[in-house]
Amino acid sequence: MNRIDQLFQQKKQRVLSIYFTAGFPRLEDTLPIMEAIQAAGADIIEVGVPYSDPIADGPTIQESNMVALQNGMSLKKLFSQLEKMRETVQVPVILMGYLNPIIQFGIEDFCKKCQAVGVDGLILPDLPMQQYLDDYKEMFDQYGLRNTFLISPQTSAARIREIDEKSNGFIYMVSSHSITGAKADISGEQIEYFNRVKSMELKNPRLIGFGISDNSTFNTACTYSHGAIIGSAFIKTIKNSQNLSADIISYIRSVIQ
C-alpha cells in the first residue's frame, strides 16, 4: 500500500510534513536531513527539487533553490542520492517541484525512477488539474504516485469538490493568499476559511501549509485539519546550522511537543 495512504489510515491528527530543498545547504546533505526529520518524529518528508524560477515561493525558498543549483543539484543527482533511502527512511516521501525540470527529465523516466527509489507522491504547484487529468494522471497512477493539489482561500467550493474528487493522497491547503514564507499570525479570516473547508467533509485528508512555523501555528492548523506542512521556517533552521541533525531534531520537537 502507498505509504501516504497508510499514514492517513493510521494517523488522523497532528500529521507533520517537513519540506526542504534538496542540495541545500550543501549538496550531500539530502539523506542526512531526511534521516533527522524522521528521527525527530515528523510524518512526511517533502523533498524539494530546485528550479531556477520558483514562482510560488517566497525569498527563503527562492534562496535555497538558488544555492542548491549552485551546489550542483539536479534530478539526476537527486535520484542517485535517494537510491538507498529506503534502507533508512520509512516515512512517506514526496517530491515537490516545478514542472519544467521533470519535462526535461522525461515524464515516464521520472515516474519510473520515483517508483524505483521509493517515492510515494508528488506536489507540482504549476501542474494544474486539467493538464494533470489530460496528460499525467494515467502515468502517475501506473507508477503508484499520489498527486497532491493545492487550494487557497480564493478557491471556490465547486473547485474544491472537483479537486477532492479527482486527486488522491491529501489536499494541500495554502493558508492564505500568498507565496511561501512565514507570516506573523493566523488571522480570523484564515480561521473562517479553515472552518469552511473542514465542514465540507472532503474524502481526502487536509494539511495546512504556508505560514506554519512553530508550535503555536502548528497547533492552530491542527485544530482545523489533519496536520500541517512546514517549509520556509525549516529552511531557516538548517540554513546556518553547524550541527544539522541536532538542530533539526530540536526544532521539530519544539513544533510537535
Binding site: 528550479y51 531556477s52 524560477d53 520558483p54 514562482i55 510560488a56 515561493d57 517566497g58 525569498p59 527562492q62 534562496e63 538558488m66 543549483l69 539536479s74 534530478l75 539526476k76 516545478y98 514542472l99 519544467n100 525540470p101 521533470i102 519535462i103 526535461q104 527529465f105 504547484p125 504549476d126 501542474l127 494544474p128 488539474m129 486539467q130 493538464q131 493539489f149 493545492l150 487550494i151 487557497s152 480564493q154 478557491t155 471556490s156 473547485r159 479537486i163 495554502v174 493568499h177 500568498s178 507565496i179
Partner: protein, 392 residues
Amino acid sequence: MIQIDEKGFYGKFGGAYIPEMLHPNIEELRENWEQIVASPDFQEEFQMLLRDFVGRPTPLYFASRLSEKHGAKIYLKREDLCHTGAHKVNNTVGQIILAKKLGKKRIIAETGAGQHGVATATVCALMGMDCTVYMGALDIQRQRPNVERMKILGAKVVPATSGSQTLKDATNEAMRQWINNPVDTHYIIGSVVGPHPYPEMVARFQSVISQEIKTQLLEKEGTPNPDIVIACVGGGSNAAGAFYHYYNVPQVRLVAAEAAGLGINSGKSAATTVLGTPGVLHGSKTLLMQTEDGQVVEPHSISAGLDYPGIGPVHAHLHDIGRAEFVAVEDEDAMKAGIELSRLEGIIPAIESAHAIHALNMIQYQKDDVIVINLSGRGDKDLETYIKWGGY
C-alpha cells in the same frame, strides 16, 4: 488555420501552467475578456484612446532610399511614433480598460528595459490607478532613464533581486505579487507570453498593427497583402500584432527576427527557436532556452527588449509548423542596420527594431516584392547603447 483552441493551445504550445492560487484570477480573465473586449462600450473607449492618446493610426511609410538600396518596395509600419515610443502602449491601453471593467483597483507589471513599464505607468496615470512595476535589480541600474520616467508618472518601481535579476525574474516577482494580491489587482503582462488567455489577449490588442497595414497597403498598392512582413521577436508582441491578420493568408511570408546576441554558438544569445527546447515557463508551454536539467538559461542580446529566454507560444507554433521564417540577427549587424536606417531615412530605430531591418540581408526576395517591416520602437531609449557601441 492558426487559431487558439479552447484549452489555450496553439498546436503543442500554450496552456495555463499556473499555481492553483492563480486559478481564480486566470479564470476570471478567461471567462470575461472576450466579451468585455467585444462590447461597444469597451471598443468606443479603446478606439478613442488609440486615436487621441496613442496617436493611431500610425503611418505606413514608403522608405524609398532603403528600398533602392535593397531592391524591393519596403514600407515601414511606424509604431515608433506611438505615444511612449513603441507599440507596447497598444496593449496597456487595452488591458487598463479591461482591468477597470473587471473592477480592479491596482495594476502590477513586469518590465525588462522599461518600455512596457513606462507604457503601463502611463495608462495608470491616465486612469488614476495605483501602479507597481517589478524590474530586475540589474535592469534598474542599466535603464535609469526609464526608471525615472515611471516614477515621474507616479508608479512604484520595485527591484526583483532573485535569480539573474533581469526580465524573467521581474516576471516571476510580478506573478508572486499577483498570488499575494489576487482580488483587487490586475497583472498587465507586456508580451504574448504567460498563461492562457494572456498570449491571445495581448496579440489581439496588438493586432491593430496588421489591421492598419491591410487598409493602408490597399490604398498604396491596391492590395491589402504584402509579399513579406518582417518583425523582431523577443517575447513577440509586436510580431504577433504585425502577423495577426496574415496568419491565415498563406501567400504572405512572415519573417521573425530573433536576437543572436554575440552569435548563436557564443553562449551569449537569445535565439530561442534555434537554441530552445519545449518547456514550461511563466505559465505556458513554449520553446525555452534551458540546460539539459531543465533550468532556465539567462539569454543575451544588446537589445534589452529581446533579452528573454522564451518566446510566445504562438511563435513557437508558427516555427513548429513552418508558417514563419526565423532568422537570428547578431548584435553587431543589428547596430549597423540601425545606423543604416538613420542615415537613409532619418529614423533612428530602437535596437529591437533594427534586428528586423537587418533581416532584409538574411532572406531571399524578388526585386519588386512588397515588404512591410514593423518598426516597433524608436531609438531614443537606446542612445546610451548606440554611444557605447560607437560604430557610426
